[in-house]
């Protein structure tokens, strides 16, 4: 029987693994781009006239690209430097634009000095000099005055190139640079000796000022963009998202014109079948069973942390803290949930009881009311499991998905892209940290501003505050994967295996490039400073506890204790205080030059952690969203209180507590979008930027992972959706 269920589950997992075969045609709708996605109507072009105009635009873009290619061929930028006696120099300083004081240098950035010949000499590029900024952002570019000021030269410009992508040719890494900013120089201003171009404050990998979170500022000036998606990612996304976008648009149109013609069942039917629907068809009732509940809580999107009970060794708790003190609406329920499981030495966890703390209906709004349900509670037990799933999904989406992987990875990404240029760690981190900052811009719009405030109990402010708090226990130091409870705990087994592989890979890399890493230790020092100084404060360390009620204080303590357990966070490691704030992230090093072996180990641990978060941790949640959030009545972002006394403790048939039609289609659109529009996998290595040893290690463990239900081909190399 158990084998049969397992086979059906595997079969359903295979069946619901959707691969869109989207064929682009002339009159098929087009998506403008990733940043044009909206929870409502995304910017899709569907009118044939507009499509035709769009087509002309695309043709123009192709021609432009062709012209550019032709131009590159006609006017090549040869690396040869035209110089004789280097009698003159250009000097200046490059700093980050975000600081109040001019003390944040952009170090080791590449600068090139180019001239272009006059029209009658063919507009040929002539490289006149190159250099890079020093540790303090100061640069000194030597050139030959007569080469810059001879009659051939028509125009001059100083270019700043940022390292952009890492490529591996075999196991030989190289960094490609991209023109970030160019400064035209007036020829007659160059008169020999030094020419000072002043201090250039550039918004290159700046921290945003409008949020306390470590987020990247993306300039609206197209000439000063820190990061963009790779073309492959854009193409893949555009192709994969169109079918689900069209489905959503159809529903939105129907809801607007004739809502009576559409039902939740219709909406569900229009989207691809997910795991639970497939299971229900083959094994009616199984997806609502205690066994499935335990399996999903353990190995599903939520991958819950089982905190041992203080009194009974066979009992474990999964705790979801709901609205807490965050700003929230009065439409949806999001109570705290304490789910108690009994876990034996084998087999999935068995739910024993679920206790909710908080409002369950529209009438009794006491936030401290408690309701406990057990398997003997009859229908209410089913309803309690549903509510627990909903609470778990919201918490996983905000705390684990957005904060734990997206924002957490971004804080390492900004610090890495701001600082690593010459240090070999560049080759290690860039491929895994790229694109997270740009996808987070979309996440701000779709998730934080769009989906979560309209589909869950939290308002936008509530979500933002919660993300800040959730970041308050994310630290590389001391982090370790989840403890394996038994053989059914496949998530933890897979997580440990991946962690070991990442460790082996990072050790290998550090051993190979040890000398280079130590030589350019000042980059590590700046990386550490940026990372720590911009990290958030330790969880609720800024809250004045005396102003909280006894219950609030107790909940805060319990939440912190559970978060420490879940994220393997030890507050003792958060040692740095900046502007009165105790920063959550531990420093990697405190010295500008390499001095302590422990710092070397710290760097290794931080890199390992960042790669883990950007790859496996994010992939797991993202991949499983459609499995666990792909059936409206099974699970959703929020159950409505409705107008009945029983509130959310009602059967699935009571549609007054389920999401309304708009929210239903939005939810399925959203979970599809996240789970099914991926690009950039470790083993596929589409952009040749992953170290071959990492791929080799994963391939060596392919079967072990497969036994745990993990397809290594689908582990993303970076967080970009």
């Amino acid at each position: 029987m158990e084998d049969n269920i397992q086979n059906i589950c595997t079969e359903c997992q295979e069946k619901t693994k959707i691969l869109y075969k989207y064929r682009d045609g002339f009159f098929t709708p087009k998506l403008k781009g990733i940043n044009h996605l909206e929870v409502g109507y995304s910017w899709v072009i569907s009118n044939p006239v507009t499509i035709f105009i769009e087509y002309l635009y695309v043709v123009w873009k192709r021609i432009r690209r062709l012209i550019r290619r032709l131009s590159n061929w006609l006017f090549p930028r040869r690396p040869h430097i035209h110089a004789g006696r280097l009698d003159s120099y250009i000097t200046g300083r490059i700093i980050h634009a975000d600081h109040k004081e001019t003390t944040s240098p952009i170090h080791h950035i590449k600068l090139e000095f180019w001239g272009r010949t006059k029209w009658y000499l063919g507009f040929q590029w002539r490289k006149l000099g190159e250099t890079e900024s020093n540790n303090y952002g100061i640069f000194h570019l030597d050139y030959t005055l007569r080469q810059a000021r001879n009659f051939k030269t028509g125009s001059l410009r100083l270019e700043i190139h940022q390292p952009f992508e890492v490529h591996y040719n075999g196991d030989k890494p190289s960094t490609s640079h991209r023109l970030y900013h160019s400064i035209p120089l007036i020829k007659t201003n160059l008169i020999g000796m030094g020419y000072y171009v002043h201090t250039l404050a550039l918004p290159l990998w700046e921290y945003r000022k409008d949020t306390p979170l470590p987020r990247t500022f993306h300039s609206k000036d197209s000439h000063l963009i820190s990061e963009v998606f790779s073309q492959g990612r854009i193409d893949a996304f555009k192709q994969q998202v169109i079918p689900i976008e069209l489905t959503k648009r159809k529903h939105m149109f129907q809801i607007e014109k004739e809502p009576g013609m559409l039902s939740i069942a219709d909406i569900q039917a229009d989207y691809p079948e997910n795991l639970t629907i497939c299971l229900e068809k083959k094994l009616p009732g199984y997806s609502r069973s205690d066994e499935w509940f335990g399996i999903r809580m353990m190995n599903g999107m939520n991958m819950g942390s089982f905190q041992p009970d203080k009194h009974d060794a066979s009992l474990y708790h999964i705790r979801y803290f709901g609205i807490c003190n965050y700003d929230h609406n009065t439409k949806f329920a999001l109570p705290d949930a304490d789910i108690v499981f009994r876990i034996d030495s084998a087999g999935p966890p068995k739910p024993v009881s679920i206790t909710f703390t908080g409002q369950l209906n529209a009438y009794n709004n006491d936030p401290w009311q408690k309701h406990t349900y057990t398997p003997s509670s009859g229908d209410e037990w089913l309803q309690a499991k549903r509510l627990a799933r909903v609470c778990g999904s919201v918490v996983a989406e905000v705390d684990d998905h957005f904060a734990g992987t997206h924002v957490n990875t971004e804080q390492y990404a900004i610090a890495a892209f701001r600082n690593f240029r010459k240090n070999p760690v560049t080759w290690l981190l860039y491929p895994h940290l790229k694109e997270v900052s740009v996808i987070n811009v979309s996440a701000d719009n779709i998730l934080i501003h769009g989906f979560l405030p309209s589909n869950t109990a939290l308002t936008e402010k509530g979500v933002k505050d919660r993300v800040y708090d959730a970041m308050g226990t994310q630290n590389w130091k001391g982090w370790k994967p989840m403890k394996v409870i038994n053989d059914s705990h496949t998530y933890a087994i897979a997580e440990n295996l991946f962690w070991d592989i990442t460790g082996k890979f990072v050790d290998f890399f550090f051993e190979k490039y040890e000398a280079g890493i130590k030589e350019h230790w000042n980059e590590v020092y700046s990386f550490s400073n940026d990372l720590v100084n911009h990290s958030v404060a330790v969880f609720q360390s800024q809250v004045i506890t005396d102003m909280l009620s006894t219950e609030e204080r107790e909940r805060s303590r319990e939440r912190f204790e559970y978060a420490c357990f879940r994220y393997a966070y030890d507050p003792i490691n958060s040692v740095k205080i900046v502007d009165g704030e105790r920063k959550v992230v531990s420093p990697i090093t405190l010295t500008e030059n390499f001095q302590h072996e422990e710092d070397f180990r710290n760097l290794k641990s931080a890199c390992r952690y960042a790669i883990m978060m950007a790859t496996f941790s994010h992939t797991w949640i993202n991949e499983h969203q459609y499995d666990d959030l792909g059936e409206i009545l099974y699970n959703c972002g929020g159950l409505r209180f409705g107008d009945k006394q029983r509130g959310v403790m009602a059967p699935e048939s009571d549609l007054s507590i389920a999401p309304d039609l708009t929210r239903s289609t939005q939810m399925l659109w959203f979970t599809n979008l996240l789970s099914r529009t991926e690009y950039g996998f470790i083993t596929k290595n589409e952009e040749q930027d992953i170290h071959p040893y990492f791929i080799q290690l994963l391939n060596e463990n392919k079967e072990t992972f497969a036994k745990l239900g993990v397809d290594i081909e689908s582990i993303e190399s970076r967080t970009n959706i």
């Binding site: 006696r85 000021r149 008169i191």
Partner: protein, 366 residues
């Protein structure tokens, strides 16, 4: 080492480009001198050093010269000497200015066998004709504040200003003056050398006026200090009094180096002083000023780098970027000097600088 093959075209190209460079230097020098002559000299003004005082005395070439023998600087010979001290370029001695001394081996206001011009500071504010044009273009003077952009753009110009300006000078006499761009020096042994000159007070009086830690802004802000008590002409009065009481005595010194074909062009760079350990300064002459001249005679006194023996002249320059092009331009500005003297005949002399409270100005009419 691989030898570079020289082709006929290569030679032709070099010849043409050199000719173009030289022509361009000549043209710019002439145009610049012409513009100065028309827009400044014909109004009775010098290009910059209007605010000055001249004096006369005698110069004695040292009896035991340590520098290579030269037929012009014969040991023990005495020359009449006329000098002029000035502050550039404002009509206010209390401003933060460069100070200068110009020397001619004659008591005549114009004619002389040897003239030389020097400013305070071991390095200058510009280093070639091209940089001088940029310097002039970027002056943008207003209310005594100038060269803000120039100082911001050119680090050497800024450094030169730090080294050269003397805000707190107590006397023209106790300053050190340097001619920074080298001159030709072909001595009795016919060996080609380069020479630099400087003037120090004979009594080794400590140099005054040096601001040790000026901010970049101070250098552009040449205005008098707040609550300034020194008058517009205090340096000239002090000099008159000093000369009247005890004469002003100076030492003229020379620094020489032997020329070579492969000399680094940087040796001609007036922003790079020669190493004094390798090329030490030697006394060339001692001179004393026994009386000062009145305003009219001071204003008439004119110096020219054309007044030099051939063996001590200006070094040839190849282009406007050549460090020697500075002296080349000076040499080609004869027309401006003549235009100024002509203007005195036509319009009369410019009036002396009044002792009034009209401070921080550079024009008589302001």
């Amino acid at each position: 080492m691989k030898r570079k093959k020289i082709t006929l075209w290569g030679v032709l190209y070099l010849w043409i480009s050199e000719a173009i460079d030289k022509f361009w230097l000549w043209l710019i020098s002439k145009i610049f001198a012409f513009l100065i002559a028309v827009f400044m000299s014909l109004q009775g003004r010098r290009m910059s050093h209007n605010n000055g005082i001249a004096g006369q005395g005698w110069l004695h070439i040292v009896d035991d010269p340590k520098f290579p023998e030269h037929p012009f600087f014969r040991k023990g010979e005495t020359f009449p000497v006329r000098i002029r001290h000035a502050s550039a370029a404002f009509l206010d001695d209390a401003m933060n200015c460069i100070r200068s001394i110009s020397i001619k081996f004659s008591h005549h206001h114009l004619k002389s066998p040897f003239d030389i011009e020097m400013n305070t500071g071991v390095t200058g504010l510009f280093w070639s004709a091209a940089s001088f044009i940029a310097f002039a273009r970027n002056r943008q003077e207003k209310w005594g504040v100038e060269y803000v952009e120039y100082n911001r753009q050119y680090p050497e110009g800024l450094e030169g200003a730090k080294i050269s300006v003397r805000r707190h000078a107590t006397s023209f006499h106790n300053l050190h003056y340097y001619c920074k761009t080298p001159f030709l020096f072909i001595g009795k042994d016919q060996i080609k050398r380069y020479a630099k000159y400087r003037v120090l007070p004979a009594d080794n009086e400590k140099e005054s006026g040096i601001d040790l830690h000026p901010s970049d802004w101070d250098l552009s802000n040449q205005r008098i200090l707040p609550h300034e008590t020194r008058g517009r002409n205090f340096l000239k009065y002090e000099y008159e009094e000093r000369v009247r009481k005890k004469e002003a005595k100076y030492r003229l010194q020379i620094q020489t180096r032997v020329a070579a074909d492969d000399d680094d062009p940087e040796i001609f760079n007036n922003m790079v002083p020669w190493n004094e350990d390798i090329f030490p300064w030697h006394d060339l002459a001692h001179f004393h000023i026994d009386h000062t001249l009145d305003w009219k005679e001071s204003t008439l006194t004119t110096f020219s780098l054309n007044n030099m023996p051939k063996t001590l002249g200006v070094l040839p320059a190849k282009s406007i970027y050549d460090y020697n092009s500075l002296n080349y331009m000076r040499k080609h500005s004869e027309i401006a000097r003549k235009a100024r003297l002509l203007s005195y005949k036509i319009w009369g002399m410019v009036p002396p600088i009044p002792d009034n409270d009209n401070r921080n100005c550079e024009e008589w009419g302001q």
